[in-house]
Structures are given as structure tokens and as C-alpha cells.
């Protein structure tokens, strides 16, 4: 993400929200603080979700009732608000195993994920004067 978005689009006027969720035995607040330090950019705000509240809310909004969304990336267009439930993303992708609840059409890993993230930034920022790619 650091290279796919933040470094590739150093002047893109995005708001980046990272939720560090506790899913694995090794996940905790200290680990979240360490990982957040790896994404050092003024456009990024970090949150910590020990109770999986955000993960469950995101999953529910993507037809995954009762599931938890993680390893997931979502873009929201300007104007939409998060009121009681999350708004629908304009694009999204995930790294969950294809047989999971998440739509396999949005499954991306490795370079495919990087390219999809970059494509989404370009599409969402097109004509919005927020796109100034480094390359």
C-alpha cells in the first residue's frame, strides 16, 4: 500500500483510513502501533479494532452478514457519509481466500492487487484534480 498508493501518488488528495484489526493470535495494540509506523504519511489516519466492529460492519455492507472483513481495500467517492452503516464503496478488493464469503470477482493478490489499487486511484481521481502521479 505504501508503494502502490502513497508513493505512487504522492500528491493525490486522498484521505486514507487504516483500521488495524485483531484477527490473528499475534495481533495486538503494540503490533498495530508498529505496523502503523510503516505507513508514515500525513494523509493516513490509523485506527485499532480489537473487537472487530469495523470488520463486521464492512462485511455486512458487502453481503457478508455475520462475517468479518479483513485484508480488504475499499474506495469511497466524495460526498458519501458513514451514518449508521457504511456506505457502498465505489470499488473494492480483498485478499480473502476465494471460497470465503467475499465475492471472488474482487479477489486480488500480489501484483494484481497493486495494479488494481493504482487503477482505482486513477479512476476515482480522474477529473477531480487530486491525481498527481509520481511516475
Amino acid at each position: 500500500m505504501q508503494t502502490a498508493i502513497l508513493q505512487a501518488f504522492p500528491q493525490a488528495d486522498l484521505q486514507v483510513l487504516i483500521v488495524w484489526i485483531v484477527m490473528l493470535e499475534t495481533d495486538n495494540e503494540q503490533a498495530a502501533r508498529v505496523s502503523s509506523g510503516l505507513l508514515d504519511d500525513p494523509r493516513v489516519i490509523h485506527f485499532y479494532d480489537p473487537e472487530k466492529r469495523f470488520g463486521k460492519a464492512i462485511a455486512e455492507g458487502l453481503h457478508g452478514e455475520g462475517k468479518t472483513a479483513w485484508d480488504i481495500y475499499l474506495f469511497y467517492k466524495p460526498g458519501v457519509q458513514w451514518v449508521e452503516t457504511p456506505p457502498q464503496p465505489v470499488s473494492w478488493m480483498h485478499q480473502l481466500y476465494p471460497s470465503s464469503w467475499a465475492d471472488p470477482n474482487y479477489y486480488r493478490t500480489g501484483q494484481d492487487l497493486v495494479e488494481e489499487l493504482r487503477k482505482s486511484v486513477e479512476q476515482q481521481c480522474y477529473n477531480r484534480a487530486c491525481l498527481h502521479p509520481n511516475a
Partner: protein
């Protein structure tokens, strides 16, 4: 900086305050 303890209000506030922008949200395991 991390806003701690599953604070939906703080998250919603940050999300909505930036509503004039494209917002990118990632939910990740820290390890």
C-alpha cells in the same frame, strides 16, 4: 497516530469530515 479501542465515533467523524475527498479504507491485520 492511532485512535484506539474500537472508536466508531472517531472513525465516522474522520470518514465524514473528509467527505469532499476520495477516501481509501483498508482493514488489515497488523501481523
Amino acid at each position: 497516530m492511532i485512535s484506539l479501542a474500537g472508536s466508531p465515533h472517531a472513525f465516522q467523524q474522520s470518514f465524514n469530515e473528509a467527505s469532499e475527498k476520495v477516501r481509501f479504507l483498508a482493514v488489515l491485520s497488523p501481523t
